[in-house]
């Protein structure tokens, strides 16, 4: 019994993003990738599965008046995006977008009513102007919400889309992967017109996720070709990252992709239950996560996002000697820990734990 309590207590400390365990010392619990003595690049910071993990507390008065109020929880996160102060989680169990308000420490649904109603959303993109683009597989459209979360417009008319599963936006282009057409569709952001279809010559086999890099290049998870394809902004294929196999740098179930500002590619694999990082030369830099119940482990992960805007909310979980530059969110479709939050950074302590 004692052991069980201890485990529960430890789980509480590790589980949420609410508080740093007092007196425990961050350093002892810190999970770094790679582990010392290698130079640490990424630290696991915390997980978000419900409002309680943000540190939401019920006031004594409220509890007295209305009794215990349950915290809102995540169901089955599949894709993820962020803006200043907010994280947007596409939750497959609710078929909704869950907005995580980091300041208020609250969850709410994005109100997708009327013309903006979502039927079966699969992928989300949040652009720098705060607009949310949601690919809806059943509505056969990309539904757009503005900076105030009001319905703005849609993309995809007639039979343009057969099964749009993910979307990314860059410049005046909207990039949509259609898993049924085995194609990447490039749309004019203003007019909504189809500019180009990439895939008519067998370029893709079940493309499932799409993202845009800092130079405007497009990255498509080519799921059943077990690779990530890099394309120029106009859709011209450049090269492929990864191969089919279980050795490092390979893919078995590639899912979400994201890039940092240095052009490093983060690619999720649900079979390895990890994330691999590649540089712009397609060389493997690192992998992190892995299966299990330990802090930082993943459980059939899918979506991923890189976030430079909310470091302040999570830097308290970082080791005092580890400077976080940006955050990495990974959505686990199963398991107790729904969203894993990692920090990419560098060692600033007097003595680096390992060689550079």
């Amino acid at each position: 019994m004692k052991r069980k309590i201890l485990i529960l207590v430890m789980m509480f400390f590790w589980a949420g993003c609410a508080s740093v365990p007092e007196g425990a010392g961050v350093k002892e619990n810190a999970v770094f990738y790679p582990s010392p003595p290698e130079q640490p690049r990424i630290q696991f910071l915390c997980s978000i599965s419900g409002e309680q993990d943000l540190g939401k507390r019920q006031s004594a008065l409220r509890r007295f008046l209305v009794g215990d109020v349950q915290y809102k929880t995540l169901g089955k996160p599949y894709d993820i995006a962020a803006s200043k102060g907010k994280i947007y989680i596409l939750d497959r169990a609710y078929r909704k977008i869950v907005i995580v308000d980091l300041g208020k420490k609250e969850f709410s649904f994005l109100k997708d009513e009327g013309a903006g109603r979502l039927v079966n959303p699969s992928g989300i993109w949040v652009s720098e102007d705060g607009f949310k683009y949601v690919a809806d597989m059943q509505r056969l459209q990309v539904v757009v919400f503005d900076g105030n979360n009001a319905f703005s417009r849609t993309y995809g008319s007639g039979d343009m889309f057969k099964r749009p599963v993910d979307v990314a936006v860059s410049g005046n282009r909207v990039y949509v992967v259609d898993i049924k057409q085995n194609a990447l569709l490039i749309l004019d952001k203003t007019t909504g017109d189809l500019v180009k279809t990439v895939g008519e010559e067998g370029e893709f086999f079940k493309p499932s996720h799409v993202t845009v890099g800092p130079s405007g290049n497009i990255f498509v998870t080519d799921a059943f070709n077990f690779r990530v394809r890099r394309l120029a902004p106009d859709g011209t294929p450049i090269d492929d990252i990864g191969y089919h196999g279980d050795q490092m740098g390979g893919f078995a179930r590639p899912k979400g992709v994201a890039l940092d500002r240095e052009g490093r590619l983060y690619a999720v694999d649900a079979a390895f239950e990890n994330v691999q990082i590649f540089n712009d030369q397609d060389e493997l830099l690192l992998f992190f996560g892995g299966a299990g119940n330990k802090p930082g482990n993943m459980y059939l992960p899918a979506g991923i996002a890189v976030d430079y805007q909310n470091v302040d909310f999570f830097s308290k979980f970082a080791d005092p000697d580890f400077q976080v530059e940006y955050l990495i969110y990974v959505a686990n479709t199963y398991g107790e820990k729904k969203i894993n939050v990692y920090g990419f950074g560098h060692w600033v302590g007097e003595e680096a734990p390992g060689k550079e």
């Binding site: 789980m11 169901g75 599949y78 196999g245 490092m248 199963y334």
Partner: protein, 219 residues
């Protein structure tokens, strides 16, 4: 059944189709021509039938990650099983073992899935968790289904003695439907289509009259 024998079967099926003019339905009863046969697509690179699900242990030899030279292995573990009784108590039963192979593709985007999805209310079978309470239900997988579970539940047949009723078998539930004594996705879904009932979603038994459910549930 290994890949080689499947390919041999496929060759036979193709030959039979050519010689006898039999329809492609001849291949029912194997993975060939089933929803899990992906070779028909022009995009399919390898033309192999097993590798989409069963990732080859290979292929390229890559240098160790540039940021981590201290590794002892260069191979990833796939579908690792998570065992933690402490977590099971609080969090219910999570997919493990072979069920993870299914759910790694059947994620709702790459391949259809309804496990834990909201969809239509089918008597709580696939019910999404409530946003406010986190409570929900769907059919669990990766749990031990044995005589003692049946006795404790009261509404479950003893898998060691109850016959499965799977066509062409005289075996028990344990023999025909459990894997290492556990219920998995493939307890009901015959993913290799060697015994699936035609016209179903690769089900081992017909759902008419809830026959599949009543195999285990004594209602």
């Amino acid at each position: 059944m290994n890949c080689r024998s499947i390919i041999k079967q496929k060759t036979l099926a193709v030959a039979a189709t050519l010689i006898l003019g039999l329809p492609a339905a001849l291949s029912a009863g194997t993975i060939v021509g089933s929803p899990h046969d992906f070779r028909g697509y022009e995009w399919s690179e390898s033309g192999q039938i097993c590798t989409p699900c069963h990732t080859p242990h290979q292929t390229k030899k890559m240098p160790l990650p540039l940021w981590d030279h201290g590794l002892k292995t260069d191979t990833y573990e796939m579908y690792a099983t998570v065992q933690s009784p402490e977590l099971e108590e609080g969090g219910g039963i999570r997919p493990k073992n072979s069920s993870k192979i299914c759910l790694s593709c059947h994620d709702g985007t790459v391949a259809p899935e309804t496990f834990g999805d909201i969809t239509e209310d089918t008597g709580g079978f696939h019910k999404a968790p409530d946003f406010d309470t986190g409570m929900g239900s769907n059919h669990p997988v990766s749990f031990v289904y044995d005589s003692s579970l049946a006795a404790a539940d009261g509404d479950l047949y003893d898998p060691a003695t109850k016959l499965s009723g799977v066509a062409g078998s005289t075996g028990t539930i344990s023999d025909d439907m459990l894997f290492n004594g556990k219920m998995e996705c493939s307890s009901c879904h015959d993913v290799h289509n060697t015994r699936a009932v035609e016209g179903t979603k690769l089900l081992l038994k017909d759902t008419a009259g809830s026959g599949l459910c009543l195999t285990c549930h004594d209602k």
